[in-house]
Amino acid sequence: MTDTTDKKTSTLAGGRAGTAVKPKEKSKGLFFSKKKQKHPPERVLLDYKQGHEKAILESARAEQHALVMNLGFGKEGVDSRIKKVSKHPVLEDGYVIETQQYGDGTSYIEQALSAFEDPAIRKVWIPLKKGRWSYIQQSNGYLETYWSEFPPTDDGVILSAEKKTVMMKPLFIESYALFYISIMLLFAGGLSLGAAMLFKYVVYNEHQTMVNKTYYTASKYLPIETLRGESSTETERLRSVRYSQGKGWHFIKEKLSDDGSMGQFYQKIGANGEKEALIQMGTIQTNNITTEGSK
């Protein structure tokens, strides 16, 4: 057996792990700092699915959950990572799925893929807690994981916990509070609206009462008294009494001028019925009327 880990991981440091994140070495507490040490996990599983289709990724996720439940991992301390594999010299394009329990939260995938780039290497060993081992076997482009109580005896590659760099994510997320609250609020909102509509359209079920309005206000009172005071003379004559919303009440009159021409005049009637001054709008010649802005 040869330990080629140092050589393999040194190629990884060249940037093959695109999402490599340096794990936290130290986390500061309130009164003291504790060092987060890298250590081997209690259990590790590496699986491989061929193909880059979305359905394969979804299937891989579902199978990972099912496998973890079937193997009795429980939900505590289980971390997961799925890495897309492309242009690997041995493995076809696909996904590598890693599952660890009670590990330090970092992944072995890069080390394993790097080791399997050499077609001669068919097996990688991962040390586990309590002196146990896990080995990943590559056969015909597929990966299989085995657990062993015995130390490595053949020529596989031993992967090192110290060389791991990429962080994993917890497989089981328990913080669903916001999700549950949103669902509860959705139900509560639906119930509220249902209750409101039930009350409005079934229990109460009344139409609004309409109140008639009269628009005959002071500004629109017909100028009866003003009209009563109007009289036609030989030189001045009322042609029409008019109202429009823009101009209010007004008279249109014709008046004979000193030069013999007939003029057309506009006379506004004020709010109190008083007549304002005549404003000439145009002239009336025989039967032709020339007006400016009378309408």
């Binding site: 959705l186 409005k200 309005k213 042609r239």
Partner: protein, 132 residues
């Protein structure tokens, strides 16, 4: 697969799913609040308008006016009786007062060159009544 295990499949999307659900919830609460605030149905304004205008046409006909509806919201009343302007004014006033929810838009009493008719022509516009 149990419900809690199925939820793990959407674990990474739970916030993305919760966001729209919260927005929809708020909209539902808003709609419920709006319904509670206005417990009575909105009245049938079209029916009321037809009824009011029909009543006004009947009354103005009784007072000697002809009617025309240029559009559903307007009523044009005309009369060629022009003998006594003061009497005509009183008649017009009674029509304006006797036609609820109709507002005087224009009025012309005079010669044909001015009003388009030798007599009286007025236009009343329908205004939506208040409802509570």
């Amino acid at each position: 697969m149990r419900f809690i295990d199925r939820l793990q499949l959407i674990a990474n999307d739970r916030i993305i799913i919760a966001g729209p659900l919260l927005v929809i919830s708020l909209m539902l609460f808003g709609a419920a609040w709006y319904e509670y605030q206005q417990p009575r149905h909105e009245p049938n304004y079209d029916q009321k308008r037809s009824k009011d205008i029909a009543q006004c046409i009947g009354f103005s006909k009784h007072k000697g006016f002809s009617s025309k509806r240029p559009n559903p919201h307007l009523l044009e009343l005309t009369s060629d009786k022009f003998d006594d302007p003061k009497f005509t004014f009183s008649t017009v006033e009674s029509i304006v007062l006797g036609c609820p929810n109709l507002d005087l838009k224009s009025f012309c009493l005079g010669v044909k060159e001015e009003c388009g008719i030798q007599g009286v022509k007025m236009v009343l516009g329908y205004e939506k009544p208040d409802a509570f």
